[in-house]
């Protein structure tokens, strides 16, 4: 045998192909892909915002036309006249958010950990109301809470209404046209927005973490308090935001289920725009609402420390 000093020849390479000249287009592809989104944002977000902003500092009347006069006093006037509605909106939205959390968390927990093969069915039931219009669903609550309806009858018999009357949530024998009805409507309409993010974050939790906590002497409730709940915080935060923000600006529930005493800021803005036709005040109110929500949300996210959660 001859000494082997040569490595065996490598497999014959394929005939070298002419490489197509590299096109420079590739570099710009991401920006082209972003373009539709950016255009959409400009047309439907940035331009209306600028338009609204300019409206809010105009003066004039419908007959003479409006002019930008940098009249920031509109903001102050709007706030001093409508601060009760602002406060009420925040209060109702907060109440609805808390109710949604109290109802939605157990539901999401059940779907994520206990539902087994019923999981999909329950998920569909959670989403099903979306198949009907928001307006129709809210109108349905008018029937449910009707003065002669079974709900009011039952609440009366059980003397629940005495308690809610005392708290100022209802008045007399009625539920409809009271704060309770508005909060119920808000809770019902925004519940799926709470359940879905909660479910997503609960479902992501590794089941072995529960076992590990149990193994390390945590009783089931302690496991929930120390492991499950902290790990579901991203869901709690996004769920409460998705509920609170639209609820604070909502006017349909207060319009259909409430009375003049339960008017929220959304109702005021709607009236200013569509009935009184005082565009500057309406625009100023919209901006104040937006700024207030932005401020509250920022503080909330800072406090809940979710940026830290993985």
């Amino acid at each position: 045998m001859s000494t082997l000093t040569e490595a065996p020849p490598p497999l014959a390479p394929n005939a070298p192909e002419e490489k197509p000249p590299r096109k420079k287009r590739g570099r710009w592809t991401p920006y082209w892909l972003l373009l539709p989104g950016i255009l959409w944002l400009i047309v439907f977000f940035a331009l209306p915002m600028i338009y609204q902003g300019s409206t809010s500092i105009q003066t004039g009347s419908l007959e003479d036309g409006y002019k930008v006069t940098w009249h920031f006093a509109t903001y102050w006037d709007a706030l001093s006249e409508y601060w009760p509605q602002f406060l009420r909106s925040v209060f109702y939205a907060a109440a609805a958010t808390i109710l949604c959390l109290l109802l939605g968390y157990p539901l999401a927990y059940l779907i994520a950990f206990r539902a087994g093969r019923w999981r999909n069915l329950i998920m569909i039931l959670v989403i099903a109301p979306f198949f009907t219009s928001f307006l129709i669903r809210t109108l349905a609550w008018k029937t449910i809470l009707a003065d002669s309806g079974p709900v009011v009858g039952a609440l009366n018999t059980l003397h629940v209404l005495d308690v809610t009357n005392w708290l100022g949530w209802t008045s007399g024998d009625r539920v409809l046209a009271t704060p309770l009805a508005v909060v119920c409507g808000l809770t019902y309409n925004f519940l799926p927005f709470m359940v879905l993010p909660l479910y997503t974050s609960l479902e992501r939790i590794d089941g072995r973490l529960h076992e590990a906590a149990g193994d390390l002497y945590a009783k089931p409730f302690t496991t929930f308090r120390k492991v499950t709940f902290p790990l579901s915080m991203p869901g709690v935060v996004s769920g409460t935001l998705l509920t609170f923000i639209p609820a604070a600006g909502d006017y349909v529930n207060a319009e259909l289920l409430g009375s003049t005493d339960t008017r929220m800021i959304g109702n005021v803005i709607q009236t200013q725009f569509l009935r009184i036709l005082d565009y500057p005040t309406a625009a100023a109110l919209s901006f104040i609402l937006m700024a207030a929500i932005l401020a509250m949300v920022t503080i909330y996210i800072r406090k809940s420390g979710t940026e830290d959660l993985v």
Partner: protein, 384 residues
């Protein structure tokens, strides 16, 4: 240490697990793990070893039977009331807590207020003192593994359960952690029950190994005992490699059994045969590949008398550094494996050469012929 202390004994009494779908993961099992031992449950995936471990931890409810820790029956207790802790497969560290709080978790749940010193000491034991304020995802696999061990050990459990604790680590780190775990076990002296599918891992670390197959313990003993004296073909094949030959009992002389296999005669010490032997009956004769010496057929005359011999032809050989592995085509066994240390290499031993295989009869073991000769052969690769 007080040798009479048996509070860390784990006793399984008739324990079994049948799932709702009718699958029986663990057949009724009796097992005692003495206090302070390092015990391994070894088997391929699906053999019931993890289920057994989970029943000891209380994470799985036994369908029958119960668990004792020392003299205390714990079979009905929920996991958080059992004095055992588990190192989970892929660790299950709490991602929202830092390393310090992960380790302190068990102490805090038991209402211990001043945990600082204990946690610091424990993190030093596993050499993670510097990492106390990091989150689990900032650590490497090996470090996470050590946190998982520290988190369990800090509670001074009576028994530490380890569920494939090294499965997620790469080979080199795994070897290192095997020695580390063994060191920790010797240091703290508590009972370790270790579930693994890696036979090398089980043999390196454990004092006692139980080989499980299809929900049953096939054999239990020290690693050397299991390796040298397997009782079943499953153990013989799953733990290392065995050459198994079908043979017929010819006669008995003293404490030796003379067997006929393919025209030749083999000698098997009676003490090393786990099967009943009657003249004319069949047994499986086994021998480990490294016990065999390979001699070229031309030198057959130099083989000392009294050794078991088989003739054959080299079918294949692969050089792997410390040894050369030969596959021999022999009339009694088509793929006879021989591992020869590379001390003096005989250049004539190439594929195609006629050879004589011979070994000390004391290294022969006998098994019941009424079982699958290939049981457990490829399971290890599947499990890994």
């Amino acid at each position: 240490m007080n040798t009479k202390d048996n509070s860390g004994d784990v006793r399984l009494s008739g324990i079994s697990k049948t799932y709702d779908n009718g699958f029986t993961a663990v057949q009724p099992l009796d097992l005692t793990v003495p206090q302070g031992s390092f015990f391994a449950l070894l088997g391929a995936s699906g053999c019931g070893k993890t289920t057994t471990l989970r029943m000891i931890a209380g994470l799985e409810e036994p369908s029958s039977g119960t668990v004792f820790l020392g003299d205390q029956e714990v079979g009905h207790l929920p996991p958080y009331k059992r004095p055992v802790n588990t190192v989970f497969q892929s660790y299950a560290l709490f991602p929202h807590l830092d390393i310090f709080e992960n380790v302190a978790f068990g102490l805090r749940r038991r209402g211990i207020k001043s945990v600082k010193q204990q946690v610091v000491d424990m993190l030093d034991l596993v050499q993670l003192g510097e990492q106390a304020r990091k989150k689990p995802h900032q650590l490497s696999g090996g470090q996470q593994q050590r946190v998982a061990v520290a988190r369990a050990l800090i509670n001074h459990p009576k028994v530490l359960l380890l569920d494939e604790p090294l499965g997620a680590l790469d080979l080199k780190l795994r070897r290192q952690m095997q020695l580390e775990l063994k060191r920790i076990q010797t240091e703290v002296g508590i009972t370790f029950i270790h579930v693994t599918h890696d036979q090398e891992e089980a043999m390196t670390m454990a004092d006692t190994v139980a080989v499980m197959n299809a929900g049953r313990v096939e054999q239990l003993g020290s690693p050397a005992d299991l390796y040298e004296n397997p009782n079943t073909t499953f153990v013989a094949n799953f733990l290392g490699t065995s050459n198994l030959i079908e043979a017929e009992v010819d006669s008995k002389s003293g404490d030796e059994i003379i067997l006929k296999a393919g025209g030749g005669k083999l000698v098997l010490p009676e003490a090393r045969c786990s099967a009943p032997t009657t003249t004319g009956g069949k047994v499986l004769v086994g021998v480990r590949p490294e016990k065999i010496t390979l001699t070229h057929a031309d030198d057959a005359g130099e083989i000392p008398a009294g050794r078991n011999r088989i003739t054959g032809k080299i079918a294949d050989s692969s050089f792997i550094g410390v040894s050369t592995q030969y596959v021999i085509d022999s009339p009694v066994c088509p793929e006879f494996e021989v591992y020869a240390q590379n001390i003096d290499r005989d250049s004539r031993l190439r594929p195609g050469a006629d050879v004589v295989l011979h070994w000390n009869p004391a290294h022969t073991f006998g098994l019941d012929a009424a079982q699958d000769i290939d049981a457990g052969v490829d399971l290890e690769e599947e499990a890994a």
